[in-house]
Symmetry: C2
Subunit: 134 residues, 2 copies
């Protein structure tokens, strides 16, 4: 997506304003997925060509990076960059929104409680974890 304006919100949407990009980030962020096939097996079942093009775009934009797997040379390992990790607060607020307005979804209630009682601590903790995933 090419830059549409100088608005900071529009800018975020230029990176992840589609139906799939944030689901990739979600899987890297919360579900410990790191390979193409793991990413493809989400509940939402994204088509492989879309996954491929989104990974390429997210990498080009600096939200994720990939490396070769040392053990299995067929595999590639996808991880969040710092810019990708910094999407965490946005993701948390989306979960909070759904906890209130779509409670029939699978809300991680402990996480939501902790967002309310110890937001800064939670974000720091999760951010550190994500940085440490080698």
């Amino acid at each position: 997506m090419t830059k549409r304006s100088d608005c900071p919100i529009s800018n975020v949407l230029d990176h992840v304003g589609d139906k799939w990009s944030l689901l990739i980030i979600r899987d890297l962020m919360f579900f410990g997925k790191h390979s193409y096939s793991e990413l493809q097996n989400s509940d939402e079942k994204m088509a492989t060509n879309i996954l491929s093009s989104r990974l390429e775009k997210l990498e080009k934009e600096g939200l994720i990076y990939k490396q070769k797997d040392k053990q299995d040379k067929r595999k590639k390992v996808y991880r969040l960059t710092e810019a990708g990790i910094d999407m965490l607060p946005i993701m948390l607020e989306m979960i909070v929104w759904s906890a209130k307005h779509a409670p029939e979804t699978n809300i991680p209630n402990q996480l939501v409680s902790r967002v309310h009682t110890d937001r800064a601590g939670l974000i720091q903790e999760l951010t550190e974890q994500l940085h440490q995933q080698p």
Copy 2:
């Protein structure tokens, strides 16, 4: 967009996971826009048929509602519902993300500072303002 899974993040994207919906919410939320023609005149210049279909979708999903303007009977007034207003924290975190990772965008620096120093107060204040817009 039809429901793709029971994931709370996927759920939010089913509502606003496209390039335009959150820009409409932004304009209603931060820029005091309330009419079709005002919404059409954003920097991003969305096509009128897209604006029309997004307004319809957002209304059907309960994020906005419309009423007739009392003074000018040609006009319709669009406003955020509570569910729409509750997107505020997501929007703020997007601005915070761009403040860090896309500082060349038009960052509202006072707002960003206040997010860091008095997040709860800021959200409460802005939320009240949005509720009061009659």
